[in-house]
Amino acid sequence: MILQIKNLFKWVNSGGNRVFLLNDIDFTVNEGEFISIMGPSGSGKTTLLNVIGMLDDFNEGEYAFLNEPVHTLKEKYRANLYKEYIGFVFQSYHLIDELTVYENIETPLLYKKHSASERKALVADMLDRFNIVGKKDLFPSQLSGGQQQLVGIARALVSSPKLILADEPTGNLNSTQGTEIMELFKQLNKEGVTIIQVTHSESNATYGSRTIRLKDGMIVNN
């Protein structure tokens, strides 16, 4: 079991009313799963993903990640936890414009105190694996969207996380590129990486082993 969420609530106060963003969320993710979160706009998919990624906090409930109670952890320890075990992939890639492909992939390692030679080896592995060795000195603006997302995934994987969180990873891509990325995720999942993706597309959801549907912050089926 990689994570377990119990009776989780998140709300904002708006004009005296409590508006629930997440309402009594309750589910478990096991190692090796590939989960798709679906639902209409504003149903809380991204919020849930951010809570899982510990980028956002919640108001009530319990969240255990690798048996660590996240809701009671200190900020710093929590940061160490996601730094160590979670990789993020975004719809709009969020590569750093001023860094080259190589440097973008290297960045997470910089914050983890890897030695220079280790970093070099790990980044080289990634470049190799994704077939982008020839593009390593290019800047993000010189790449196509699909290639940028490839770099984004390489960056998420370079520190070998247990869990990948992907927020509509194909949202900005055309269908061919989208399929390639989804195939890649499937491949990674086979190699043992747990993946949670947020998606709008039913066809993308089929790549997953399980789908969680949200509506108005509540899970409607699991």
Partner: protein
């Protein structure tokens, strides 16, 4: 890791060239001013420190009370040195010093030199002037020995070895006994030649307490207990024997103070061989350079914070990938460090470029090599580090505090972008600028007033020709010769020129109201004095040839009468109207009649009101001819003067200056302040506007969409310009309101140094206000117009 930070810093600079150049340029200017001023201050603080025995050397100054007035002087009588050295074992050596001018002749080389030092033989033992040739013990042990500096040796002897050569100085043949290095520029004693003090002649051979014209230095056995030693000396000065020797009676006294050598330049009120430095000047310098640096730093802070919007994505992403707040903070500090150090390199280049101008403002002679010495370099480094933190701190704090979520949300606005800090910094920058502009305006107006003030005499087109004693024999024929030259209108002579009369004296008057003794300034003058200088008579007349008859020296001078002219102030102090004064008898050197009352003219600096002045007919005191020439063909007339001079005299090279130029040197300090403040004000305005320029550009990028929508809704060009300019103009107006009263009071305070001063007019405020607002408007307007003329379709599409 750090390398990664610098890399991204450099790439960001390249991407945002406008901000980068504003920041680098601004910080470079700030650092340049700090470095140059640091150099100046280090030089001031290092004064006399090259002397190995500096902490044991003291300068003796005199405090005395005569006729109810306490006076202070840096000069002392000839007795002070030898008498105290005999009496007090604490004194190891003494030297009395004086610097004078003389002709110096060797072979066919003849020059008039004005840095001839007369000093007692122990001079080179007390002070550490390096000797290149000669032995400090014996170098001055005979009256005919003279020491040259290296550059003088070169000037007179070229490649010859000067040792034991004979050279003519003060009319005597002297033997060169040694060569010293040129006196350092941070020495209070600067000389080209050194010879024995006793060579000054009979007037110094007798030891006396008074006739105090010499500066005396002591070398003590230790530098401790100087205050106690001073008391000991003054107790000695109170003993009856000494009091009667010095002719002290009743309340009168004569005391001495010992000033540690290292305190003389910056802490003493009494100027010695050269005008002292001034701590106030140093403080002003420091404040101005720091203000400029502050303005530049504020630019950095503002522009870097403004960019945080576009950087928030990157930072959020870094945090998602595990960067801690501290690591992001360090990243942005390294960014400001990178910029500052690029600026530092540029500053070094700028220093080299502006060094000559800096030298002319400060009156120093710094060389480029001095910039590369460890101390200035260390200063530059230190300031760079401080600025990196000062300027980078706030942006780094804001940016490192960026929430991780911001990367995931659209429409993030930078927390510091519209903050109170940005506004306060702009207000601060412009307050400083407006303050400096107003203050500078006042200084410039006062300087203009000084230059154009009616002094009571006409200082233009008066040539001053310094003369020496040997020329008295031909005084009259020479004067007649001068008068015959075409272009010369009239000729007179005097001891001092009227630009600054220092001769202090007293006058005795007995009239129906009793006896008056009045302290005055006195001036020995020749015929035609009033006429030549264009002064006006309030009553009576100028001296004429027949007045010499009054000065009857026959029969043991029993009938000797000294003819006098007085000024209006003196007449008023005695209690006479100008008309009443004519023909009255007063006594100064001898009793004699007042022949005329001259309308008051400014004979000292405009810092002082006009005091009582006495002019007596005294041709033999003359040190200068003053020649009024016509303003047509000045060069031709000067040529004729030189020809005549060279025909008639062989004892002195032709040397002239203009009275109005001499007058201007009186206000050199003020001139320097004026230049300094003008430069500072200019820089402050330029830097503040550069910052504004960058911020305006940024604001417009942020508001492109808004502007586009407004245009679609029907806003015209002027609406848009006003929209953008309004905020900035409001801030600048606040700055003006804050700065004006401060500037007004500061300027008033400065003006109080002058007895004759302007009243600051409204224009002093209105012009800076208009200029500042106009410059602001133009700075911001440039971007506004560019934004306003863009087709709205285009700007909306970019979103």
């Amino acid at each position: 890791m750090i390398r990664n930070y610098f890399k991204i810093a450099i790439r960001n600079l390249r991407k945002n060239k406008l901000y980068a150049s504003i920041n680098i340029f601004g910080l470079a200017i700030g650092l340049t001013s700090c470095m140059l001023i640091g150099l100046y201050i280090v030089n001031e603080l290092s004064y006399d420190k090259f002397n190995n025995k500096a902490n044991r050397i003291v300068r003796v100054t005199m405090e005395y009370k005569m006729s109810n007035e306490i006076n202070y002087a840096a000069t002392t009588g000839t007795k002070v040195g030898p008498e105290f050295a005999r009496t007090f074992p604490k004194i190891e050596e003494y030297t009395r010093t004086f610097i004078s001018t003389s002709n110096v002749e060797y072979g066919n080389k003849l020059f008039n030199e004005d840095r001839i030092l007369f000093a007692d033989p122990s001079f080179f033992n007390i002070f550490s002037f390096n000797l290149l040739q000669g032995n400090a013990e014996t170098i001055l042990d005979a009256p005919n020995k003279i020491v040259l500096t290296e550059s003088m040796a070169k000037k007179y002897f070229g490649d010859e070895n000067p040792i034991n050569k004979t050279i003519t100085v003060i009319g005597k043949e002297m033997i060169v006994s040694g060569v010293s290095e040129d006196s350092p520029k941070n020495s209070q004693i600067k000389f080209d030649f050194v010879t024995q003090f006793l060579n000054l002649g009979n007037k110094v051979k007798r030891e006396q307490w008074w006739s105090a014209n010499w500066i005396t230095y002591f070398l003590l056995n230790t530098g401790d207990d100087i205050t106690q030693f001073e008391q000991q000396i003054n107790t000695y000065m109170q003993t009856d024997a000494i009091r009667s020797q010095a002719g002290l009676e009743g309340e009168s006294y004569l005391n001495y103070h010992l000033q540690p050598l290292l305190d003389v330049h910056l802490k003493s009120d009494l100027a010695g061989f050269e005008p002292n430095g001034n701590m106030t000047y140093i403080y002003i310098f420091i404040i101005i350079s720091l203000l400029i640096l502050l303005i530049a730093s504020a630019n950095y802070t503002n522009l870097a914070t403004a960019q945080s919007t576009s950087r928030s994505g990157e930072i959020g992403m870094r945090k998602v990938m595990g960067a801690s707040k501290r690591q992001v903070f360090i990243q942005f500090i390294s960014e400001s460090t990178t910029i500052t150090f690029i600026a530092a390199v540029l500053a070094l280049l700028l220093c080299v470029l502006v060094l000559p101008y800096f030298n002319s403002i400060t009156g120093k002679a710094f060389t480029k090599l001095e910039l590369l010495q460890p101390i200035p370099m260390l200063l530059l480094f230190l300031f760079s580090v401080i600025v990196s933190f000062l300027a980078g701190l706030y942006p780094a704090l804001v940016l490192s505090g960026t929430n991780v979520m911001s990367v995931l949300k659209k429409g993030f606005r930078s927390p510091g972008g519209n903050g109170i800090l940005k506004k306060s910094l702009i207000v601060g920058q412009f307050s400083i600028s407006v303050f400096l502009i107003i203050y500078t305006m006042v200084i410039l107006q006062q300087m203009d007033f000084i230059q154009n003030k009616n002094l009571g005499y006409n200082k233009d087109h008066v040539v001053v020709l310094p003369i020496s004693r040997t020329m008295f024999e031909n005084f009259e024929t020479f004067k007649y010769g001068l008068e015959q030259i075409s272009g010369v209108q009239s000729v007179t002579a005097s001891y001092e020129t009227p630009k600054f009369v220092k001769w202090g004296d007293g006058v005795n008057v007995v009239d129906e109201n009793g006896e008056h003794t009045i302290d005055i300034n006195a001036m020995p003058v020749d015929l035609n004095f009033v006429n030549t200088l264009g002064m006006k008579m309030a009553a009576g007349r100028d001296f004429i040839q027949s007045d010499f008859a009054l000065m009857d020296t026959t029969n043991n001078s029993v009938n000797y009468k000294q003819p006098y002219l007085i000024n209006e102030t003196l007449a008023k102090q005695i209690g006479w109207s100008p008309e009443e004064a004519i023909g009255r008898t007063i006594e100064n050197r001898a009793s004699g009649p007042v022949l005329g009352v001259v309308k008051d003219f400014n004979f000292s600096s405009l810092h002082e009101p006009v005091g009582p002045l006495l002019m007596f007919l005294g041709r033999n005191f003359s040190r200068n001819y003053m020649v009024r020439i016509s303003d047509l063909d000045v060069q031709g007339t000067l040529g004729h003067l030189e020809t005549l001079w060279n025909e008639r005299t062989n004892s002195r090279p032709f040397n002239y200056h203009f009275l109005d130029e001499d007058y201007d040197t009186l206000y050199q300090t003020e001139q320097r302040s004026a230049i300094l403040f003008s430069v500072a004000a200019g820089l402050a305005v330029i830097l503040a506007c550069l910052g504004l320029f960058g911020l305006a550009a940024f604001t417009i990028v942020q508001r492109t969409k808004e502007i586009g929508i407004r245009k679609v809704l029907g806003a015209n060009l002027s609406n848009i310009i006003l929209l953008i300019s309004k905020n900035f103009l409001v801030l600048v107006t606040i700055a003006i309101i804050i700065a004006s009263p401060f500037a007004f009071f500061a300027a008033k305070k400065w003006l109080q140094n002058f007895a004759y001063r302007i009243e600051p007019e409204w224009s002093v405020f209105i012009i800076p206000v208009i200029v500042t607002l106009l410059v602001t408007f133009l700075t911001v307007g440039y971007h506004s117009i560019r934004a306003a003329i863009v087709n709205p379709i285009k700007s909306l599409r970019t979103e």
